[in-house]
C-alpha cells in the first residue's frame, strides 16, 4: 500500500519527519517497506514566465528566450517550440540538479549564452503518462498562477514522500488511505479527521430509472447504487490528478478519476455503468451460466462458468463482479446518465474467479481481502460528493441499497488482569481504555467490554485486545524475562544423536553432505530402468505441481544423489563423494487414505578414485561407530535395475536387510551423463539405528598368548569368501580371535573354475595358554567344515 504523505496529512496531523513517522508506524504494526522522497535529488527548479522568444541567429531549430524567474530575467536557448510568451514554465537555474543526474550549468549554445533550462516532466523525473496535459516533446506549461521564482517542486508533487506499507491480511481496512490515517492517529496519538461528506440531490427518483436484483446473496452481501445525471466527461482538476499521480495512478477523466480516488481513499472499489445501455435500467447479480461469454473492458472475450459471480443486465453479462466491467456498458464521452456501483463481494469467490480467468485488477485485489460491507455506502456518497464538487454530474435523489450483510460490530470482553498476565506487564486499566478509544473502539467500562468498529472484524477475543494494547504500548517497552515455570531438560533423542554421529562418520570418511529435492519427475523411473510394476513407481503425486520435474514425492533417494553426482560431473569436478540423510515418502495406498510412511535414508554416492570396496569400507566404518559391525553381512542376491548386476549387494545387519550398495549400472550412468564408474549405497536409518548402541561392554585385555595358523584352500570360483569366513567362524568356536584374508588367486597352477583362498587365523583363549592339541583339533574341524559345506580342499 503506497501512501502519499501530502495526501495523508489532509486527514491526520503528523508533526515528525517522514523517517520518524515510518519508524513509529512500523513499531505499531504497519510495517514500512520503503520510504521514497520524491524529488529528493531535484534542486533549484523555479517557476518562470516566458517574456520573449526570438530566433537563434545561427541555428534554425533553436530559439533564444528571456525568462522572468522572479528576482531576475535569464536568457535560455532551447530547441522546444511549444511555449508562448506569457507561459509559466518550470525553470532549472544554473547549478540545478535534475533527474538522472543531469546538472545545469551556464553555457553557450551555438555561440549564444544560455543560463538555465526550461523543463519537461521527464527531466523532473516524472512519468509523462501521469500528465495527460504534458506535450509529447517539449516543455511543461504550468496551468494556474504561481509566484515567479517560487519553488516549482510542489506543483509536481516533488515535495511529497511516498511510504510503502506492508499490510497484513488481518487488516484489510488499512488498504486505504483513511485506514492508514486512522492507524497513524492512534500511533502518534493525534487527531484524525474523516472527510465531511455532503452533496445536493437533484429532482428525480433513482427507482424510476434503475433497479438491482441480487440473486446470489451469498456472494454479494451488499450492493449500493446511485445515479448521476447531466454527466460531463472531461479531465478532472489538477488537485485530483495530483492525488492520483502521487500514488502512481494515471489520471484519465473525471469519472474514472473519482472512482479511483475513492478506491484509494476508502479502499472501496467502484464501478460506473452507462445507464442508457442497461435494458430497463436493470442490474442482476447472479452466478454466470456455464460457458457464458462476455467482453471485458480490456477488449478480451472471457468464458465464464457457474462458480463465477457476474453483474448482468436482463439480456447479457455486463461485468465480472469485483474483477472487471464489460465493454458493452462502458461509460463513453457522451454518456448522460450513469449508474455508480459500490458493492461488497465474497473474497474467496473473487480470488478464485480472478485466478480462473487470469485477470487480477486493483478492484479484485481489494475485494479479496474481506472489505467491510459498511464502507460501500460511505464510499458511494463520497463519490457523489466529488462528482458534484468537480462538475462531473448531478446526483439523482435516492439510493439503491441491497444489504444482505450481517456484519455487526464485534463485542469483546476485556480483563485487565488477563491481558497483563499474557503480556507480562502491569498496564493500568485507564491506559488500556485509552488505547481502545484511540482505535475507535466503543468502551463500556462498567461491563468491561468493547465494541469494535465493523472494519475491525479481526478483533474477536481477548488475545486480540492484548495485541492492540501491546502494540500501542510498544512492543519495545514490554519487559524481557526468561521463563520461569517448570524446568525441562534439553536433549537430543537417541535417534537424533545417532543421526548426528552418522553425519560425523560420513564426513570423517571424506564425504560431503548434499541436500536434494523431495520431489522429482516421474521420468526418473525410466532413467533408473525401473520395472513397470516396481513399487518405487507408486508415489504421492502433487495435484498442482510447479511442473513435471516437481510433480511426485520421491520414493527413493537414488535419483537425487545421481543428479547431484551428475551436476558435479558436468562441472568437471574430480573425485566426488557425497552423502545425504533424506526422507522418502512411501504411500500405503493411492489415493492416500492415511499419511504416507516417511523414512530417513542415508544415501552415499561417489565417483572418481573409488571402487565398491571403498564404499563398503565406509559403511563398515559407520557400523563400527554404531557398534554393530559384527552383525553386518553382504549378500549379492538382490535385484536392483539401476545397479551393475555383478557388483551389488544387500546390506544385512543382524540378518535383516537394511539397505544396499553397488556400482551404478552403465545404462543409468549414461542416462545421467556420468562417464565414469559411480557407486551408491542406501541405508535405512531407522533399521540401522535399531541395531546400534552406544553402550560398551568391558572384557579384560588378553593375558595368554595367541597362536597363529595360516590356511590355504582351493574352492570353486563362485564360492563367496564371506561364506568361507562364516564356516571358519562357526567351526572354530570361541577361541578364534582374528581371521584375515591374505590371498585370493586364480590362474597358473589352479584348475580352471577354481580359486585359491588363503587366511591367517589367530587363536586365543581368555583363561589359559592354548595347547597344540586344541589348535589341531580346531583346525581339523575348520577344514572338515570347509570341505563338507563348500567343497574346499586344503592346499599344501
Amino acid at each position: 500500500m503506497n501512501v502519499s504523505m501530502n495526501w495523508l496529512r489532509e486527514y491526520v496531523k503528523i508533526d515528525c519527519d517522514v523517517q520518524t513517522f515510518a519508524e513509529k508506524m512500523t513499531m505499531s504494526g504497519s510495517n514500512v517497506d520503503s520510504v521514497v522522497k520524491k524529488g529528493e535529488n531535484i534542486t533549484d527548479v523555479v517557476v518562470g514566465r516566458v517574456l520573449e522568444i526570438v530566433k537563434h541567429p545561427d541555428a534554425d531549430k533553436l530559439v533564444v528566450t528571456q525568462v522572468d524567474v522572479g528576482d531576475k530575467t535569464i536568457q535560455i536557448v532551447t530547441g522546444a517550440d511549444n511555449m508562448k510568451v506569457g507561459d509559466l514554465v518550470p525553470v532549472a537555474l544554473p547549478g540545478a540538479n535534475l533527474a538522472e543526474g543531469l546538472k545545469i550549468k551556464e553555457g553557450k549554445l551555438r555561440g549564444v549564452a544560455s543560463n538555465g533550462m526550461m523543463c519537461s516532466v521527464e527531466e523532473l523525473g516524472l512519468d509523462p503518462d501521469h500528465f495527460p496535459d504534458a506535450p509529447e516533446h517539449g516543455i511543461y506549461i504550468i496551468k494556474g498562477e504561481y509566484p515567479l521564482g517560487s519553488d516549482a517542486k510542489p506543483i509536481f508533487g516533488l515535495d511529497d514522500a511516498i511510504v510503502e506499507f506492508e499490510i497484513t491480511s488481518n487488516r484489510p481496512d488499512c488498504f486505504s488511505l483513511l485506514g492508514i490515517a486512522r492507524e497513524a492517529a492512534a500511533t502518534v496519538d493525534t487527531e484524525f479527521h474523516y472527510p465531511e461528506i455532503g452533496y445536493n440531490e437533484v429532482a428525480g427518483d433513482i427507482n424510476q430509472h434503475a433497479s438491482v436484483e441480487v440473486i446470489a446473496t451469498d456472494l454479494c452481501p451488499r450492493f449500493v447504487a446511485k445515479v448521476l445525471v447531466d454527466v460531463d466527461i472531461k479531465p478532472s482538476p489538477k488537485w485530483m490528478q495530483d492525488r492520483l499521480r502521487s500514488v502512481g495512478i494515471r489520471p484519465i477523466n473525471n469519472l474514472v478519476d473519482i472512482t479511483n480516488f475513492v478506491m484509494v481513499e476508502m479502499g472501496q472499489p467502484m464501478h460506473a455503468y452507462d445507464l442508457e445501455e442497461l435494458t430497463h435500467g436493470k442490474i442482476i447479480v447472479r452466478r454466470a451460466k456455464d460457458q457464458e461469454k462476455m467482453m471485458t473492458l480490456d477488449g478480451e472475450e472471457r468464458e465464464l462458468d457457474e462458480t463465477m459471480l457476474v453483474i448482468a443486465g436482463e439480456k447479457e453479462v455486463i461485468g465480472v463482479a469485483g474483477v472487471m466491467g464489460g465493454e458493452g456498458s462502458k461509460v463513453k464521452d457522451h454518456t448522460g446518465m450513469i449508474l455508480l456501483e459500490a458493492a461488497n463481494f465474497d473474497p474467496a469467490s473473487i480470488r478464485k474467479t480472478s485466478k480462473k480467468i487470469g485477470l487480477r485488477t486493483d478492484a479484485s485485489t481489494k475485494f479479496e481481502k474481506h472489505l467491510d460491507p459498511n464502507t460501500a455506502l460511505i464510499a458511494i456518497e463520497r463519490a457523489c460528493q466529488l462528482a458534484e464538487m468537480i462538475g462531473a454530474g448531478h446526483v439523482m435523489a435516492g439510493t439503491i441499497d441491497v444489504n444482505n450483510s450481517n456484519r455487526k460490530p464485534n463485542k469483546v470482553a476485556y480483563n485487565v488482569g488477563n491481558i497483563n498476565k499474557l503480556l507480562g506487564t502491569n498496564i493500568s486499566e485507564e491506559e488500556m481504555v485509552s488505547y481502545f478509544k484511540r482505535l475507535e473502539f466503543v468502551v463500556d467500562e462498567d461491563q468491561k467490554e468493547i465494541l469494535a468498529p465493523t472494519f475491525r472484524a479481526d478483533i474477536e477475543c481477548e488475545a486480540d485486545l492484548a495485541e492492540e494494547v501491546a502494540r500501542l504500548y510498544g512492543y519495545d517497552r514490554l519487559p524481557t524475562t526468561l521463563a520461569t515455570g517448570t524446568p525441562t531438560v534439553g536433549k537430543r533423542s537417541f535417534t537424533q544423536r545417532m543421526e548426528d554421529l552418522a553425519r560425523q562418520i560420513m564426513e570423517d570418511c571424506s564425504l560431503n553432505e548434499a541436500m536434494t529435492y523431495s520431489f522429482e519427475s516421474p521420468k526418473v523411473y525410466d532413467k533408473l530402468k525401473l520395472a513397470p510394476d516396481s513399487l518405487l513407481r507408486v508415489a504421492v503425486k502433487i495435484d498442482n505441481p510447479l511442473g513435471e520435474d516437481f510433480s511426485v514425492m520421491r520414493t527413493s533417494t537414488v535419483n537425487g544423489m545421481l543428479q547431484a553426482l551428475s551436476n558435479n560431473y558436468a562441472k568437471r569436478n574430480e573425485k566426488v563423494g557425497l552423502y545425504e540423510i533424506g526422507t522418502i515418502y512411501e504411500p500405503k495406498a493411492i489415493p492416500l487414505k492415511e499419511l504416507p510412511k516417511e523414512s530417513q535414508k542415508l544415501t552415499i554416492g561417489m565417483y572418481g578414485d573409488c571402487d565398491f570396496f571403498k564404499l563398503k569400507g565406509i559403511l563398515e566404518t559407520l557400523f563400527e561407530a554404531f557398534n554393530c559391525l559384527d552383525l553386518a553381512k553382504w549378500d549379492p542376491n538382490i535385484e536392483l535395475s539401476y545397479l551393475h548386476p555383478g557388483r551389488k549387494a544387500k546390506v544385512m545387519l543382524n540378518n535383516k536387510e537394511i539397505g544396499y550398495i553397488g556400482e551404478v549400472h552403465p545404462d543409468v550412468l549414461d542416462a545421467y551423463d556420468i562417464h565414469d564408474k559411480a557407486y551408491i549405497a542406501v541405508i535405512d536409518m531407522e533399521d540401522l539405528i535399531g541395531e546400534a548402541t552406544l553402550d560398551h561392554k568391558y572384557t579384560p585385555v588378553p593375558r595368554y598368548p595367541a597362536v597363529n595358523r595360516d590356511v590355504a584352500m582351493l574352492v570353486k570360483e563362485e564360492i563367496l569368501v564371506g561364506d568361507i569366513e562364516e564356516v571358519i567362524r562357526r567351526c572354530s568356536g570361541k577361541i578364534l580371535e582374528k581371521l584375515e584374508l591374505f590371498d585370493v588367486y586364480k590362474g597358473k597352477q589352479i584348475e580352471v573354475g577354481y580359486k585359491s583362498v588363503a587366511y591367517a587365523l589367530s587363536f586365543r583363549a581368555a583363561d589359559h595358554t592354548l595347547q597344540e592339541k586344541e589348535i589341531s583339533k580346531t583346525m581339523e574341524k575348520i577344514l572338515k567344515g570347509l570341505e563338507n559345506e563348500l567343497g574346499a580342499t586344503l592346499r599344501k
Binding site: 492484548a466 519487559p479 521463563a483 517448570t486 564426513e507
Partner: protein, 339 residues
C-alpha cells in the same frame, strides 16, 4: 711381566683409537682377551712367576684386564653412537614435503547453522520434535486457526495432494502434533522441510527449511517470549546484536511479532543487505492463539505459551553472505567444501 702388561694396555688403548667398526673391535678383543689372546698367554706364564710375587702380578693382571675391558666397552659405545649419529644424518627429511592428510568431508552449511540453533535451544531446555512433511489438511490449516477462505489456503501457495492432504506449508503443524501428544511443560524446536508453490530463483524455492519453536506452560508471558528470543539472537549473532520486536500477524498466534536483528554488515546504519533500514528480519513469533491451544486439547485458561518460526535458508544465507539460494540444492562440491 709387569712391563709386558703395561705394554699390552698401551697397545690396546692405541689400537682402540683407530677402530672403525664393531668387527675390528671384536678382533682386538679376541686378540687380547681371547683364549689365544696376548693377555691370556701372559696369564699362562704365571706359573713361572715367583710365588711371593704372584698376588701382586695377579692383581696387576686383573687390573689390566678390567681396564682393557672397560676401554673396549667404551670404544664400543663410542662406535655405536657414531653409527647412530651417521644413521640420523642419513635420515634427514624435507619436512615441507606434502603429508598424507586425510581429506575430511564437509557438512552442508544449512546443517552447520541448524546444529548451532539446536545447541542453543537444547541449552535452554528444549527438545527436538519432528512432524510429517505430507500433512493432513486439518493440521496445516484449520488446527492453526487458518479459516477456509484465508489467502494462505490459496492454491498459489500450497501444494495439494488432494482435498485432504497437502505438503505442509510451514513447520507450524508440528506445534499441534506436539501439543496433542505431550502435556505441558513443553519446550521444543521442530526443524524440517516445508513446501510452497514458488518458482525457483535466487531467493525462492518450492522446498525450503524452517525451524519451529514452541513453549507451553503455566504463566508464560510475551515478556518471556522476548527474553527467550533475545537470548537466542545473542547466542547466534553475538552480544552486540540488537533485537527489535514489531507487531505482525499470524493466524495461529496473538499477539504476533516479527523479530529483526540489527544488520551485522553495517551495524544499523543502513546498507544493501538490510535495504537501508539497519534491520534484518529473521523470524516470526507470537503467543499461541487460545483457539489453537483449545483445538490441540490444552486448556487456554490454565496454560499459555509462545511459538516462533524461522527460515533456515535465510539465516544461513545471512550468516555466510550467500546470495543465491539455488546453491544449497545443486550440491556442487566446490560450494560444499567451503564450509
Amino acid at each position: 711381566m709387569k712391563e709386558q702388561l703395561e705394554a699390552i694396555k698401551i697397545k690396546v688403548v692405541k689400537n682402540l683409537h683407530n677402530i672403525a667398526d664393531l668387527k675390528a673391535l671384536d678382533e682386538v678383543r679376541v686378540n687380547i682377551l681371547g683364549k689365544k689372546g696376548e693377555l691370556t698367554s701372559i696369564l699362562k706364564g704365571m706359573k713361572d712367576v715367583a710365588p711371593e710375587d704372584r698376588p701382586t702380578i695377579g692383581a696387576l693382571v686383573n687390573e689390566v684386564r678390567t681396564d682393557i675391558e672397560a676401554a673396549i666397552e667404551n670404544a664400543k659405545n663410542n662406535l655405536a653412537s657414531k653409527v647412530r649419529e651417521q644413521q640420523l644424518k642419513e635420515e634427514v627429511i624435507d619436512v615441507t614435503m606434502p603429508s598424507n592428510k586425510k581429506t575430511l568431508g564437509h557438512r552442508h552449511p544449512m546443517h552447520i547453522v541448524l546444529e548451532d540453533l539446536k545447541n542453543i535451544f537444547i541449552g535452554m531446555g528444549y527438545q527436538i520434535a519432528k512432524g510429517p512433511e505430507i500433512e493432513e489438511d486439518y493440521y496445516n490449516f484449520k488446527a492453526l486457526n487458518i479459516p477456509e477462505d484465508h489467502p494462505a489456503r490459496d492454491e498459489q501457495d500450497t501444494f495439494y495432494i488432494d482435498k485432504n492432504f497437502v505438503l505442509r506449508t510451514s513447520t507450524s503443524p508440528t506445534q499441534v502434533h506436539v501439543m496433542e501428544h505431550q502435556k505441558p511443560p513443553i519446550r521444543v524446536i521442530a526443524p524440517g522441510r516445508v513446501y510452497r508453490s514458488d518458482e525457483v530463483d535466487a531467493t525462492h524455492s518450492p522446498m525450503f527449511h524452517q525451524v519451529e519453536g514452541l513453549v507451553i506452560d503455566e504463566h508464560i508471558t510475551m515478556a518471556d517470549l522476548k527474553g527467550a528470543l533475545a537470548e537466542f539472537v545473542k547466542e547466534l549473532y553475538g552480544d552486540d546484536a540488537k533485537v527489535r520486536f514489531r507487531p505482525h500477524y499470524f493466524p495461529f498466534t496473538e499477539p504476533s511479532a516479527e523479530v529483526d536483528v540489527s544488520c551485522f554488515k553495517c551495524g544499523g546504519t543502513g546498507c544493501n543487505i538490510c535495504k537501508g533500514s539497519g534491520w534484518i528480519e529473521i523470524l516470526g513469533c507470537g503467543m499461541v492463539h487460545p483457539k489453537v491451544l483449545e483445538m490441540s486439547g490444552i486448556d487456554p485458561t490454565k496454560y499459555s505459551g509462545f511459538a516462533f518460526g524461522m527460515g533456515l535458508e535465510r539465516i544461513t544465507m545471512l550468516r555466510y553472505g550467500i546470495e543465491d539460494l539455488r546453491l544449497f540444492y545443486e550440491n556442487d562440491i566446490r560450494f560444499l567444501k567451503q564450509f
